[in-house]
Each structure stands twice: as C-alpha cells, then as structure tokens.
C-alpha cells in the first residue's frame, strides 16, 4: 500500500505539488492524469524516493520513505517497478543487458542463467528475443523500447507495484495498443498494483478503474470513471473538454464490455 499524506513539494521556489494526498491499495490500478507540467512525473519521483518532499509523509507498506536512509530506500525500491518516460534504457548497453541489468548487477547468477531469464522476459512482454537481444536500444522503435523497459522493471525485482510514466506518449496506435495490453495483462495476471501517469486521456480510460486528475499541483479529482464523467469541477471539465467526444465513446464501450463480461469479472 502506498499512501501520500499532505505532500508539498517544490524543486526551486515555485511550488509544484500542493497538499497532495491519496492512497493506492495493493492490486489497485490507478491513473494520474493532467496536463504537461502539472507535476505527474514528480509524484512518481517522490514515490521512488528520488526527490524529498518539503512537507508531508509518503508511506510505503508502513514505512515512511521521506525519513529513510539511502540504504533502506534501496531496499524499498525493490518493491517498485519503474518505467520511466520514453523508457530510459541504458543506451550504452544492449537490450539483453538492459533487461538483465538488475540480475547482472546484484546477483551472482551465471551469464547463462541471466540470459535465459532475459529471453523469457522478452517473450513475456511480446518481443522476439532472438532478433533484438544483442541490439542497442537506439535501434528499437518507441513502442519496443517501452516494452523492453517494462521487462527490465519486472525482471529487476518482484515489484508489488508498477509505476508507468507516460507509457504511450508518442506511440502510434498499434504500439499504444500493445503497451496498454501488456500493462493490463500485468495487472490482471500477476496482480501487481499500478500507477500510470499520462496526459493521453483515452489511454488512461482503458486501463484503470480509478482516476486522479492533477491540475497545477493540486488534486482536482479522485474517483471512478462514472464519477469522472459527471464531475462538476471546472478544472476537470476544462481538462476533459478536448476529449469529450471520444470520451463518451470509450465510456460507452467500456459499459458494453462491462455488461458483456459482468459474469466473469466485476472489477473492470
């Protein structure tokens, strides 16, 4: 469980987050939406302990990461799988070395064992291991890079929560589809909680059952899809307006799907 309590944060003088509080339960799938520069990535960086809030507490599984020593933070980060914006693959390492990074750095596993796991993981994220394992990240398409990054995060640790920073931004529709399917597969098959940060609303609506809208560093909305659609908050309305037509379509589609699959899964 991750809990943000009254977090205030700024990089310089300008406040970036103002009194942000929310809780993410285990197994929950949450989307944080908001325009560019609203502080979405900053929230993920805080959860990873890469930045320190000026005020407030950030509790991960009962431990306050803000007051932790670096050594303990390192331990805690093993519970978190982070997929950075645009992947953040190590560009001097091959795809295989990227995916096996954690095992190569932190375990005494033989190269053979690591590469077996890497091949398996690349298969899991839907990539042809044989073809790309020895190439450099630069040679991959944007969508493949995101999937490699997801594989790297999964193989690193046994995350109880995955953080995705703009996983579909800049991807074509097919690649977006693949990445979103992978995210949903992870959530459902491996029952890993997830927080996805995005300004692509349509993608957001596909994967989550809970939504947070962040506007100028404040939480403008926190609730379900249905509540989101009927929200009266002017900030939420303003944010949703450009997407309204496709929004209605997606909501209807999900309702229809929901009715169709109601018997199997009540949660989605």
């Amino acid at each position: 469980m991750i809990e943000l309590r009254h977090i205030h944060f700024s990089y310089t003088d300008k406040p970036i987050l103002k009194d942000v509080s929310f809780v993410v339960e285990d197994n929950e799938s949450l989307v944080i939406m908001g325009p560019s520069g609203s502080g979405k990535s900053t929230i993920l960086r805080l959860i990873l302990g890469l930045e320190q809030p000026q005020q407030g507490e950030l509790i991960i599984d009962g431990d306050n990461i803000c007051t932790m020593k670096e050594k303990n933070k390192r331990k805690l980060r093993k519970k978190i799988g982070m997929v950075f914006q645009a992947g953040a693959l190590f560009d001097s390492l091959s795809v295989g070395e990227n995916v096996g990074y954690y095992l190569l750095e932190h375990t005494n596993m033989t190269l053979k064992n690591v590469s077996e796991k890497v091949v398996q993981m690349l298969g899991f994220v839907g990539l042809d291991a044989e073809e790309i394992i020895d190439t450099l990240p630069d040679e991959l398409s944007g969508g493949m890079r995101r999937r490699v990054a997801i594989g790297r995060a999964l193989l690193s640790t046994n995350p109880m929560i995955m953080l995705y920073d703009e996983p579909t931004t800049g991807l074509d529709p097919k690649a977006t589809e693949n990445v979103l399917n992978l995210i949903m597969k992870l959530h459902q098959e491996k029952t890993i909680a997830s927080i996805m940060v995005t300004h692509e609303i349509i993608d957001a609506l596909r994967v989550a059952n809970r939504f947070i809208v962040i506007w100028a560093g404040e939480i403008a909305f926190d609730g379900t899809l249905e509540q989101l659609r009927s929200s009266d908050d002017p900030r939420v309305k303003e944010f949703l307006r450009p997407f309204l037509s496709s929004f209605t379509e997606v909501v209807q589609k999900r309702f229809v799907e929901g009715i169709a699959t109601e018997n199997n899964s009540a949660s989605l």
């Binding site: 890469l50 982070m82 950075f84 645009a86 190590f90 560009d91 954690y102």
Partner: protein
C-alpha cells in the same frame, strides 16, 4: 549598482558551484573505498582516456617541444650557452610543459566527453533509472572515471615529456647544432627527484580537477540537449582554467618546499 548586483550574483553562483563540486568530490572519494568495485568500467575508461588521447598528446608534445627548443636555442646562442639547451628543455618540459599541455588536452577531450555522456544520461532519466535499480551513479560513473584519470594522466604526461624532449632534440641536433651527447647529458643533469616529483604530482592533481568538474557538470546539467551542450562547454573551460591556476600554485608551493632537491 547593477554592476555590484551582477558581481554579487556571480560570486554567489561561484560559491554555490564550488560547494557542489566539493561535496561531489567528498562523495566520490568516499565511494572509491566502498564496495562494489567496478573493475570493467575502470578498464574501459582507462582505454577511452588513454588510447583516445594518445595522438593528441603526441602531436602537442612534438610541436610544443620543437617550438620552445627553437626559441631557446636562438636566445642561448647569443650567450654562447647552447650546450645548456638540454637542461632548460628538461626543466621546462618535465615541470611545466608536459603536465600542463597534457592536462589541457585531456581536459578538452575527456572532460567534454564525460560531461556530455553523464549529462545526456541525466536528461534521458538514465541516472534515475540507475538509482531505481539500486545503483549509485557516483560509484558507477564518477569513481571509474576518477581512477582511470589518476592512472592514465601521469602515463600520458610521461609520454608527452618523452615526445617533447625528442622533438627538442631534433632542433638541438639539426638546427642549433648541439651534439646528441651534449644534449642528452644536459637533460640527464636535470632528471632529479624534485623535477620528477613535481612533474608527476601535477598530473595526479589535474586528474582530480578534470574528474570532479566534468562529473559535477554532467550530474547538474539541465534543460535538455541545449543544457548538456552548455554544461560541456563550461566543463572544458572551467577545468582548463583551474588546471592553469592550480599549476601555478603547485609550482610555487612545491618550489619553496623542495628547494634543496631542485
């Protein structure tokens, strides 16, 4: 008053940078002695720094040695003291020219490379990714570069010294008409502990300067590609100037302390 405000701002900025560099230096030195040790990274950096700068250092060495020898030999000839050319060249090269030229060349090439690499890793979140995977970027990036520089810069300096002395030998023999025996014995005359000590102390100190400034500039670069470009330029300029200033003080201090041995 705008002038004073500007000076004040500049001083504040300078103090801030100095503090940052100092902190990074402390962290890096502390990290040198902590596990894990990244030997492959150290060897890779030694290769990049050593082999990569070799031609540059050789070229600089030849032409600087020849240029100085030419100037000195004309001047010495006026006093009928051409036979001292070897002594002067040995002192000039081993104490000053070799270390400074090598330091500046490596600062230009290696400091730029280090800052650009770390800066672009920062702007693409690779540094954060490292931290997220439990790796300390200072240990993984700064320490191997520092160690590689400490080893390779003295080696490059010795190579530069040799090449410069050889270059000035060519001038001594064919232009100043000093015989090889006379030139070499004059050089050997000055190959004494004090000179060699200064000549090797300097590159060790310069390697700290280059490593700390270039890593600091990389780690603190911001503002995307443009920011990395700016950080790279600053890294080269600041490390070059620092090398020149520190060089003067080393000569001055060591000179007064080692008087008997020079």
């Amino acid at each position: 008053m705008a002038f004073f405000a500007a000076v004040n701002n500049w001083l504040k900025h300078f103090a801030y940078e100095l503090q940052g560099e100092f902190l990074l230096a402390l962290k890096t030195i502390a990290a040198v002695f902590r596990r894990p040790f990244y030997l492959p990274e150290i060897l890779e950096q030694m290769h990049i720094i050593g082999v990569g700068s070799l031609y540059l250092v050789i070229l600089t060495g030849i032409f600087a040695g020849q240029g100085f020898a030419l100037a000195f030999s004309v001047e010495l000839a006026d006093f009928g003291a051409k036979n001292y050319l070897g002594r002067i060249m040995a002192i000039a090269i081993i104490r000053e020219l070799g270390p400074v030229l090598t330091g500046l060349m490596v600062a230009a090439r290696v400091a730029a490379g280090i800052t650009a690499e770390i800066g672009s890793m920062k702007s693409s979140n690779q540094l954060d990714a490292m931290v997220a995977f439990g790796i300390d970027p200072i240990k993984k990036l700064a320490v191997p570069r520092l160690i590689a520089l400490i080893i390779m810069l003295p080696v490059l300096t010795i190579i530069c010294d040799f090449i410069s002395l050889a270059g000035s030998w060519v001038i001594a023999k064919y232009i100043a008409h000093v015989t090889t025996t006379v030139y070499l014995s004059a050089v050997r005359d000055r190959l004494i502990f004090g000179n060699l000590f200064i000549g090797l102390l300097k590159p060790v100190v310069f390697s700290f300067i280059i490593a700390f400034i270039s890593c600091y500039k990389g780690f603190t670069s911001g503002g995307g590609t443009k920011g990395v470009g700016r950080a790279t330029t600053e890294s080269v300029v600041i490390s070059s100037i620092t090398i020149l200033v520190v060089n003067f003080f080393i000569t001055k201090i060591v000179f007064s302390q080692l008087k008997g041995w020079l």
